[in-house]
């Protein structure tokens, strides 16, 4: 062991963790090539790091169910927090742990998210009655999709990847855009089931928001976009060429309507819609 070994001790750690600049990397590599003691130490450290990484991944794997359940509980608590004026949830949002304990039971699992989203939306009672059930389902699906690992089945920002992925799974071919306007980028797609129909769901990241664009077949006539607001969730729906589209997000209504406009225009070049907020 030389003074150089001692001096390089922390650099060796940083080298292992990929935290060194180019020059320091060269110094460390030269030393490792020349010093068998440090090379042995480094090999052991690297083996330890690899095994710990594997053990960490294995631990995360075993906790998937707990994390999903916790996610549902937290969403419920946050919704309660966000709508204090709604009596049915105010009771839960009062301080203390009393409201946490009943939620610890396993049957209060993932389904809770959908249940409370529906309860919450229903309390708004803003949608026309005929659409309420479908809106509930869409909002529930959107909320569910935001749970860890639920958003995307095929992860890609390229419509050339996402579109063929749908091809073998649906009996229709949804239009897929890589980008919608300046702000929204495709992050992937998944299959969903809405109103008893197979549905393509495409997820877009728009700044800090996620937009789910649902597409399914319809035998109804084309229809202009219709925008609903459900206490923060926006749903814009329209029908175009035997396909029904639903865009769901926590974006502002004008922003989501712009999103819908761009998708519509892309499907029907130049055929402008009169949305509430013009582009």
């Amino acid at each position: 062991m030389t003074p150089e070994c001692r001096n390089l001790r922390l650099s060796l750690e940083a080298y292992l963790d990929n935290e060194l600049g180019v020059e320091a990397v060269l110094t460390v590599e030269a030393h490792l090539g020349a010093c068998p003691d440090c090379a042995r130490l480094f090999a052991a450290s690297r083996a330890l790091k690899l095994r710990l990484g594997e053990a960490g991944a294995a631990e995360a794997e075993t906790q998937t169910a707990e994390v999903a359940e916790l996610s549902a509980k937290i969403r419920h608590a946050l919704i309660a927090e966000a709508v204090p004026e709604t009596p049915s949830v105010t009771a839960f949002s009062q301080r203390g742990r009393a409201w946490v304990k009943p939620l610890m039971s396993p049957d209060f699992g993932a389904g809770l998210v959908a249940a409370c989203a529906v309860m919450w939306v229903a309390s708004g009672a803003m949608a026309p009655r005929g659409q309420a059930a479908l809106t509930d389902e869409l909002v529930s699906s959107h909320v569910r999709s935001l749970m860890p690992q639920h958003l995307i089945d095929v992860q890609s920002s390229d419509h050339h990847t996402v579109k063929p992925w749908f091809a073998g799974k649906l009996d229709f071919s949804p239009p897929v855009l890589s980008r919608v306007g300046d702000k929204c980028t495709l992050i992937g797609g998944r299959l969903d089931y809405v109103a008893h129909k197979d549905t393509a769901a495409m997820a877009y990241q728009c700044d800090r928001h996620v937009v789910n664009l649902y597409v399914q077949t319809t035998d109804q006539a084309d229809a202009r976009p219709d925008s609903n607001s459900h206490q923060g969730y926006q749903v814009v729906r329209w029908r175009q060429n035997h396909l029904a589209y639903f865009a769901v997000s926590d974006m502002t209504a004008p922003a989501l309507e712009r999103f819908a406009q761009v998708v519509f225009d892309a499907n029907h070049g130049g055929n402008k819609l009169s949305l509430r907020t013009p582009l």
């Binding site: 001790r9 130490l41 707990e66 946050l78 919704i79 927090e81 709508v83 935001l146 928001h209 206490q231």
Partner: protein
């Protein structure tokens, strides 16, 4: 986009769900490793997310994972203090080791032995680390945080992150070697 949501704003607002919720697994593991008990760990994570949500309007676009883990760790340490289980010795105040060289000579440098460790024995060894060493290992090796992010979460300088990490790895190797000897 960075507006403070009005108090009565519905949830989820302004990306909290997209940016913060994906780190729930990391938050839960961190809380669990700090308090070592599932029910309080879940409470801590839930309280932390509520706190984070209330503070969301003040979140500066930056590292969301480090931000939420910082909150979770503070909540977990508060819980330990309340429960009088707080035993996090500030090891950086301890005198520096003088047997550094000896330590290096007789420590485990057996790559094969380390590779052969089961997950259970690795967990057992991590469990025996001092809390301050345990959390730095967890954040680095399980959550793959950068030194800068770890410094942010633990609220310590980067240099301290590096020296703690080095000590934690040395200690882990020693613990694994001891365990290996007991087994044989």
């Amino acid at each position: 986009m960075t507006k403070d949501p009005p108090r009565s704003a519905p949830w989820p607002t302004d990306g909290f769900d997209a940016l913060i919720l994906p780190h729930l697994g990391a938050a839960y593991r961190l809380a669990l490793w700090v308090v070592r008990d599932d029910a309080p760990a879940q409470d801590i994570v839930q309280d932390s997310y509520l706190k984070a949500y209330r503070a969301w309007g003040r979140f500066q676009p930056g590292n969301a994972k480090a931000w939420i883990l910082t909150i979770v760790r503070r909540q977990a340490l508060n819980w330990l203090r309340r429960e009088r289980l707080y035993d996090l010795v500030d090891i950086d105040d301890l005198p520096a080791r003088t047997d550094d060289e000896a330590l290096r000579q007789d420590q485990v440098q057996d790559t094969v032995m380390i590779t052969a460790q089961s997950d259970a024995s690795l967990h057992a060894a991590i469990d025996r680390l001092a809390p301050a060493l345990r959390e730095v290992i967890l954040l680095k090796e399980f959550e793959a945080l950068s030194y800068r992010e770890i410094a942010e979460v633990l609220e310590i300088p980067m240099g301290t992150v590096m020296s703690r990490l080095s000590r934690a790895r040395e200690a882990l190797k020693r613990l694994l070697m001891e365990a290996g000897h007991h087994d044989t």
